[in-house]
């Protein structure tokens, strides 16, 4: 489905991502792991058009999507979450989810100013769908609370649910369980599994090995911007290079 062909990104003299290629199969959960500074987030930022690719190409279902901006990619079916929480704290929980449906909404200026019937009906319909999504994470009761009042763990889930609103075919989750306790981690992990049930492809960037091993179909390991290894969880667990890289860098996750 997604095809990354030898992409490279430099910052100053340092190659954050160096000639990296891999494929993501439709409907799979594809994890990208690696020590800190391996270039994982940079890769996500390149796929989602936040950073311009220095060289290489990215294809989605055979169409070139290299350097297309994040907001346009949403219309191609790619959506993402962030390593550092990006939730609109000035909006309510429900409004945050509704934001996910933004691409389906009529935002014509005149109609908005004059409160046209169609816009109101539209809004009501999407509210139902948003509430439905909130039920998935058990937040329907908190729908009208300002997001700033919620805990970090809940907001992390909210971000994933928001992404679902865009009806993506591919979601990139950048460390969805970073900073969560084991219980919350399990919840998010379950959430991701239910998402997969809906046949959405997932690219997961994560440090939590237990979770990665548990839910991934396929894993790509990065180190210093390069691909170190790839394969199924079992293959990776037994890969000597990977073990060395992790031990060598002193980071054991």
């Amino acid at each position: 489905m997604l095809q990354i062909n030898s992409v490279t990104k430099q910052f100053g003299g340092i190659k954050a991502v160096d000639d990296l290629s891999f494929r993501v199969k439709k409907g799979s959960i594809h994890s990208i792991i690696g020590p800190n500074g391996a270039g994982k987030t940079t890769l996500v930022n390149m796929i989602t058009g936040v950073y311009k690719v220095d060289s290489g190409t990215i294809f989605l279902d055979g169409a070139d999507i290299t350097n297309i901006s994040t907001d346009k990619l949403v219309y191609r079916g790619i959506c993402r979450t962030f390593q550092n929480l990006e939730i609109c704290e000035n909006l309510t929980v429900l409004e945050n989810v509704l934001l996910g449906f933004d691409k389906y909404m009529d935002k014509s200026l005149l109609k908005s100013c004059f409160r046209s019937k169609s816009i109101q009906a539209d809004e009501a319909r999407h509210k139902q769908r948003a509430l439905h999504l909130l039920e998935l994470i058990g937040l329907e009761k908190l729908a009208n609370l300002k997001a700033e009042n919620l805990s970090y763990g809940i907001l992390k889930k909210l971000e994933i649910v928001r992404a679902l609103g865009t009806s993506p075919e591919l979601i990139l989750l950048d460390e969805p369980v970073a900073g969560l306790n084991p219980k919350e981690t399990q919840e998010v992990s379950n959430l991701i599994k239910t998402v997969v049930a809906d046949e959405v492809t997932i690219i997961l960037v994560e440090h939590d090995m237990k979770m990665v091993m548990q839910i991934s179909d396929y894993i790509t390991v990065m180190n210093f911007g390069k691909k170190l290894a790839q394969g199924t969880p079992e293959e990776i667990a037994n890969n000597e290079d990977v073990i060395r890289a992790y031990l060598g860098s002193g980071v054991v996750c």
Partner: protein
């Protein structure tokens, strides 16, 4: 050609004044990330205080020093207000410093007056003839003082313990706290220092251009433009920015139109913001998502 050098020279003097204001901006910005819109009023406070202390019969040197102390105190008051407001939103802080600027202007109207004032030059009215124009002793004094201040700042931040502590605080507040650095005290010193530098500029400028209660508005804005043009955060950048601005202004006034002189600073500012957001000497930091 001689004309050109003449314009250049008159630009340099003004440029150094912008530089002094710009350095003041830089000192506060570096330590607190705050853009202080009352920086220009510090310049006014320095000049006006000196004039009135002189009128009260104090000798020049004493008036000068007292004026700097007064302005530093004003700087500390501003810091206390900011600290007290516990308000981190950038818009609020901008408005707060703008409000403080208006307050200072109002205070100057009441404490002093709305008249134009001047005072004798520190070094006499003499001047060197150069390139068909003149370089007054006072201009030379401004240049020397500006350079001394920049060098002193550099030595202070690089060589002294307090200075290094201040640098550390500006780079990482939390780490500095852990190291036992008193952030509040450091911020306060920075505000006082910044006000002092601006007031020195104000005092030195008064014999050349005269001063009144609202002289700070334009000077403040142009000083800020200088700081941004040079790359916000670097004192050397502020000096370079100030000089570029002063010279550009003078050349535009000389060759194009003296009426559009004041626009130069802002056109340059926009150009820098749009095309080189890091300024001439700054470097753009990659933003992390």
């Amino acid at each position: 050609m001689i004309e050109f050098f003449g314009f250049l020279l008159s630009g340099v003097t003004v440029g150094f004044v912008y530089a002094l204001v710009g350095i003041g901006f830089t000192v506060i910005y570096n330590s607190s990330g705050i853009i202080n819109f009352s920086q220009g009023e510090f310049v006014m406070a320095g000049g006006m205080s000196t004039v009135f202390l002189l009128k009260a019969g104090l000798p020049l040197g004493v008036s000068f020093i007292l004026a700097i102390l007064i302005t530093s105190m004003i700087g500390i008051v501003l810091y206390k207000l900011i600290a007290f407001s516990k308000n981190s939103s950038q818009i609020s802080l901008i408005i707060l410093t703008l409000g403080f600027a208006i307050f200072l202007r109002g205070l100057a109207e009441v404490v002093f007056d709305k008249e134009l004032h001047t005072m004798p030059s520190f070094v006499g009215d003499g001047a060197f003839d150069m390139f068909g124009t003149v370089l007054t002793y006072q201009s030379i004094l401004i240049m020397i003082v500006s350079i001394v201040i920049v060098v002193a700042l550099y030595l202070f931040f690089k060589k002294t313990k307090t200075g290094q502590a201040m640098m550390a605080a500006s780079i990482n507040v939390d780490a500095a706290k852990l190291m036992g650095i008193n952030i509040k005290k450091i911020l306060m010193i920075n505000f006082a220092l910044s006000a002092a530098i601006a007031s020195i500029g104000g005092v030195l400028l008064t014999p050349i251009t005269s001063t009144n209660y609202e002289v700070g508005i334009m000077l403040g804005l142009k000083g800020f433009a200088a700081a941004i043009i040079g790359g916000l955060g670097s004192p050397f950048g502020a000096v370079a920015g100030g000089l570029v601005l002063g010279i550009l202004e003078s050349l535009i006034a000389g060759y194009v139109s003296s009426e559009y002189k004041d626009a130069v600073a802002f056109v340059a500012l926009l150009a820098i913001l749009f095309f080189m957001p890091g300024g001439i000497f700054g470097n753009t930091k990659a933003q992390r998502v």
